[in-house]
């Protein structure tokens, strides 16, 4: 970055596409987040990692305005999500694409119609243009030949690639990936990983990847957050996280059962419960 013009020097937050500050959120009295701070900068791939059940998907729901924080601020593209009316919320969502864990394809439509769905719903483009647009996106994910298949005929990896084509068909500024690697074979996983990187490099799309596949995500992320017990326990580049001396980070990165994150659900003493007797 050119530092020769101090007056135009941006504050660190100005290029934040998503700015989550001191967010508290609880479900049925059980706290999910207690003072969460996450910032996603424009044009970068930001990874949000954490053990299962740490509310990674909840974070995505907060960002897309499906739920609201109990306390704290969630702003997207510089606007507070909680302050948006329905029209503005929908306008904001048009600027983002989201890839769901299971693809979330509409089961009554073909692959082609699934990708065409957002275009048909939001624009009045003529049919030949829609066709070209959809085929271009399907080609990008390598599934132009599957255009006429139904979602039920696709494998898990293919469904996720179709969902990716659908997510990018309106050329969003930001893409959100919810656990994109879960349940994929190594080849599909490599393809999805490359596609995420390509979207980011070629189109300059800001990407948020929520995942617990530490090693996969480390190969493409510019910046990572590790969330545990409702707050960020570590953040930085994958290399910085790998070198961290925090016990939680170390446990998560090495996949150990021993450490601050408990493997065992709280229970009574093992021996006592097995023997079934405490006194006589």
């Amino acid at each position: 970055m050119d530092d020769s013009q101090p007056t135009s020097h941006p504050a660190p937050e100005t290029d934040a596409v998503i700015d989550v500050r001191d967010v508290h959120y609880a479900i049925d009295g059980r706290p999910i987040f207690a003072g969460l701070d996450v910032r996603v900068r424009r044009g970068l791939i930001t990874a949000v990692m954490g053990p299962s059940g740490t509310g990674k998907t909840t974070l995505l729901r907060l960002i897309t305005g499906q739920i609201y924080a109990d306390r704290g601020q969630v702003s997207v593209f510089g606007r507070e999500v909680a302050d948006m009316g329905r029209a503005e919320l929908f306008a904001t969502r048009r600027r983002m694409g989201m890839l769901f864990q299971n693809g979330a394809l509409l089961t009554d439509l073909t692959v082609f119609e699934n990708v065409a769905f957002p275009v048909r719903e939001r624009t009045n483009l003529p049919e030949p243009l829609i066709r070209n647009l959809v085929l271009t996106k399907l080609e990008a994910v390598g599934l132009r030949g599957a255009a006429q298949l139904m979602p039920a005929e696709l494998s898990g990896g293919m469904a996720r690639r179709v969902a990716l084509a659908r997510a990018i068909v309106m050329d969003p500024e930001m893409l959100i990936y919810d656990e994109p690697f879960v349940g994929l074979d190594p080849i599909s996983l490599g393809v999805i990983l490359r596609l995420i990187k390509q979207m980011n490099d070629a189109l300059g799309i800001t990407s948020v990847v929520v995942s617990h596949d530490v090693h996969e995500i480390a190969t493409i992320a510019d910046h990572s957050y590790l969330i545990s017990e409702g707050r960020v326990v570590a953040s930085g580049s994958p290399a910085q996280l790998a070198e961290s001396d925090s016990a939680t980070v170390h446990q998560f990165m090495t996949g150990s059962a021993e450490g601050p994150v408990r493997f065992h659900y709280p229970a009574a003493d093992y021996a006592t419960e097995l023997l079934g007797v405490e006194k006589g």
């Binding site: 897309t64 499906q66 929908f90 306008a91 969502r93 048009r94 983002m96 989201m98 769901f100 864990q101 299971n102 979330a104 394809l105 509409l106 089961t107 769905f117 957002p118 719903e121 939001r122 659908r166």
Partner: protein, 253 residues
Amino acid sequence: MSNGSRQGVLEALRKAGVTALFFGRLLAACVPALARPRLIIAQIYNAGARSLIIIMLSGLFTGMVLGLQGYDLLQRFGATSALGTAAALSLLKELGPVLTALLFAGRAGTALTSEIGLMRATDQLTAMEVMAVDPMRHVAAPRFLGGLIALPLLTAIFIVIGLYGAQLVGVQMMGVDHGIFWSQMQSAIALKDVTEGVVKSVVFGAVLSLIAVNEGYHADPTAEGVGRATTRTVVASSVMTLLLDYVLTAAFL
């Protein structure tokens, strides 16, 4: 009032409130949904055309039973000439709308609930929300309108087939005079009787479609949740059909 029953009443009121609010949103979404007739026609096909076989078969047998029972009853008073009128009145005012509604709840209502519930469970509705497409407008409203339009049409078909069934047994098998069967019916049935059936079927169409769509939309996003929602659709639809049938009958007398 005990604590438990107070909780129960509060829960029932809360559910009624949620359904009422949902109905309001649904009606609001129906206006823009009308701009997409293709989606509504697809749902009329789903709820209506696909229920045709069961409706026609049930209508035929209901009419045949009416012919048989009606003949047995009327011949005791030497009044078999009234068989056509009796069958037509029963079918138009009661059996047509009510049985069609009950069959509709079992066939189309459950299909609607489980379809929408599964869309919820597989994140399809959330995906629409995130794509800035309102699922109320795209999923709920066309299905509601489809059911609302399909049920009165199915009722009409049920009644016509039922009359044919009654005629089949009464005239062809039991020997009631063909001319008397139809002419007595024609002279005795007033427009008011037809209106009663039409109003009932429209009300049932609205209420049953609302119940099915509402249960599906608010189903727990799990296999078990969708199953429970489907059961609730059948139970609530059946009870509401019979309850409203009494209310509407009383209103028309």
